[in-house]
Symmetry: C2
Subunit: 411 residues, 2 copies
């Protein structure tokens, strides 16, 4: 029998009614002849409640106890999904992570899956079971204790199972009906994409289109798992949602596939840094140690042995960044005249694998923004992405203008 | 190091504040030099919520899925208790049932503990851990799936750990401060007992003094585990609560230790049953199959080959009992003229190991009730118990009169 992996997120299993609805979708795939592996999240709100308990109990918690606590929500949903399918006369049973077992490394609260043996579940498929429901987000570490994979980890569980079982496809059911050219709340011209490449999805996901956990996309790309994102709240056809797949399978050959944005960015500039070999490491080492997620980095040309160094980071990490840099200055590791933070910026990115073969994309982007009177503060580019920082107040305008300029509303 | 087992019920861990309070009690015992094993229930309300989910999803549920679902509440409390103790600088960690492992038989939802290996936890005690927190109520079956022990099962978990680890004592923290001579809501003369024998506790527990799960008392009796019941809501001394222990250790030598009662009883009479060998089995077999908990049984003297058979059962099982008996009659297995149910009765029991050596207890009980004008409908006796059925409206009066007659308010 071909195998299908179906993953249901927290909002898709938020109530017993929604679990029933999800189970019906599973039943449809079973009736098509699939052996189905269902990965479930906790009912929405449950994990947050448990994380709240942990934070209130112990601000600097033991991550092993955190994992034992927050993994419990998925176990409840897995059992309830099994009972719901059984009520529909579909042979089903639940597995907790340690029962499969989903073996991970020992990085509690942010563990990585290392191995998923298939014999246990395949044995049950062989005995006539049609659906294996597995609690997502969790595994078991080398010490025999429960681990969790970090926020959104159930997506990664789903892709890892699809890879381990050689599934035909991995369907991620969520509360949106696919991946859009941009956020429909910014422009009603936003269009759902039928297909998108892994590479584009990675850029979009890490840029704030929070449909799929980044790691799950990386994993899908590495193991060539066909990933489909679709809504659990709509009637579904086989062509519903967005298929995330290899570049060759994406037929559209447009330079830009989507416009991503990130509202809460800040731009920090170290003014007049004493330039010397190793200065970048001296600056960004302490920032990394302090847990600051540095994104774009620009170094101006040095004059008379001094240079300006600019970088961007999420706005809520500015304080931490300032502390780290002031600490490094006091320790004598770096030397600068001033540290200037601009917390009123947003990041806009145009993403598309077509950029590789088509020129002029950057020029068109800059001209579009210029025509709208939007000043670009920082530019960074990769092979399939051009990102700019602009004043936050222009963010919506910039996204709309770029969406129009690259004609993303047209299929 | 001597080992102590401490068990905290649902109301004792209902909030993070109460978990903190319980952890402080644990800390006190650690400071006395004990290695402590803490058994926790789910935060009160959690298990009921999960059971509600199961019943709503699937009225005839798969007990293996039920167990996987309802056991999750205890895991949360265990982790939170570990974090709370760590915050108090007490080395602690949590165990889920399958991690110990608490091995049970395969009777899902009503499993019995078969083995608790001690090496895992004792190894950690050897490394300096001071408190092992174990999720109560749960274990792992021969098939590697999670089992639960039935309602109140955490008491049994606690006693089983005390037996396995040779603990000096097993302290059950609950929302009452001990075992009383009767329910203080019936008479304010009710007095807390300092000590009570296992046998008396068994009779009291099964009669409705719902302080401890019956099976946990049986287990404690078999393995000679000193069991103490005490309140988690009061400051505690070493003499607090009620010690449940062997008969020899109970110093008081009074005929009656307590008056128990059960309000919602019913009395059923099969009128004019054709008497023959095996008739009792023909009647009570079908009742047992139907899940009716028959308590007292009285058979009148047979006349002309016919007899009356009377038994008592909980009021909510009357319908089921009638169906079972009518079925047996229709099948020709039994023959009776009439089936009369009196659903307006209550059971009153005087319990005391002193009865064994002191005569006149039954006579005194009957005379006391007679003096109050309370008619006795059924009598049943055991070595340390005398039970009567009376009209429900006299229940409080009867309990108060007996409590006075046996002078239970006096220490």
């Amino acid at each position: 029998m071909p195998t299908l992996v179906m993953k249901f997120g927290g909002t898709s299993v938020a109530t017993l009614d929604r679990i029933r609805r999800a189970a019906k979708r599973v039943g449809v795939e079973v009736s098509k002849g699939y052996d189905v592996i269902v990965i479930v999240s906790a009912m929405s709100g449950e994990t947050n409640k448990l994380v709240g308990y942990v934070n209130e109990t112990s601000p600097l918690y033991d991550a092993r106890e955190y994992d034992a606590i927050v993994s419990s929500g998925e176990n409840v949903t897995a059992g309830l999904m099994a009972l719901t399918l059984q009520e529909m006369d579909v042979p089903a049973r639940s597995w907790q992570g340690w029962q499969v077992p989903v073996r991970t490394n020992d990085a509690h609260a942010a563990a990585r899956i290392e191995e998923i043996p298939t014999d246990n579940i395949n044995g049950k498929f062989g005995e006539g079971m049609k659906v294996a429901i597995v609690a997502g987000f969790q595994g078991i570490g080398p010490d025999g204790r429960i681990t969790t994979l970090g926020r959104g980890g159930s997506d990664t569980t789903a892709v890892a199972f699809a890879a381990a079982f050689g599934a035909e496809r991995c369907d991620i059911y969520t509360d949106v009906d696919g991946v859009y050219t941009t956020d429909p709340r910014i422009t009603d011209k936003a269009r759902k994409l039928d297909k998108i490449s892994f590479e584009e999805m990675l850029e979009l996901a890490s840029l704030g289109a929070k449909v799929l956990q980044t790691r799950s996309v990386e994993l899908a790309m590495r193991y060539k798992v066909k990933l489909r994102v679709l809504s659990s709240f709509e009637e579904q056809s086989d062509e519903a949602g967005t298929l995330v797949c290899e570049e060759e399978e994406v037929m559209e050959n447009r330079p830009v596939s989507g416009i991503a944005f990130s509202r809460d960015e800040s731009k920090m500039t170290l003014v007049s840094v004493a330039d010397r070999p190793g200065i970048a490491a001296a600056i960004f080492g302490p920032l990394s140690d302090a847990g600051v997620n540095v994104d774009m980095i620009i170094q101006n040309i040095a004059e008379e042995g001094r240079t300006d160094m600019t970088f961007s980071c999420p706005i809520d990490q500015v304080k931490r960044a300032e502390q780290a840099l002031n600490g490094a200055k006091e320790a004598g590791d770096i030397n600068y005249h001033d540290l200037v933070a601009d917390t009123e910026v947003a990041k806009i990115s145009a993403v598309g694998i077509g950029m590789r073969s088509q020129s002029g994309v950057a020029a068109k982007m800059f001209k579009t923004l210029s025509d709208e009177g939007v000043n670009i503060k920082v530019i960074a580019t990769s092979e399939i992405k051009i990102s700019v920082l602009v004043d936050r107040k222009y963010m919506e305008l910039a996204v709309q203008a770029l969406h129009d300029a690259f004609e993303l509303e047209k299929a």
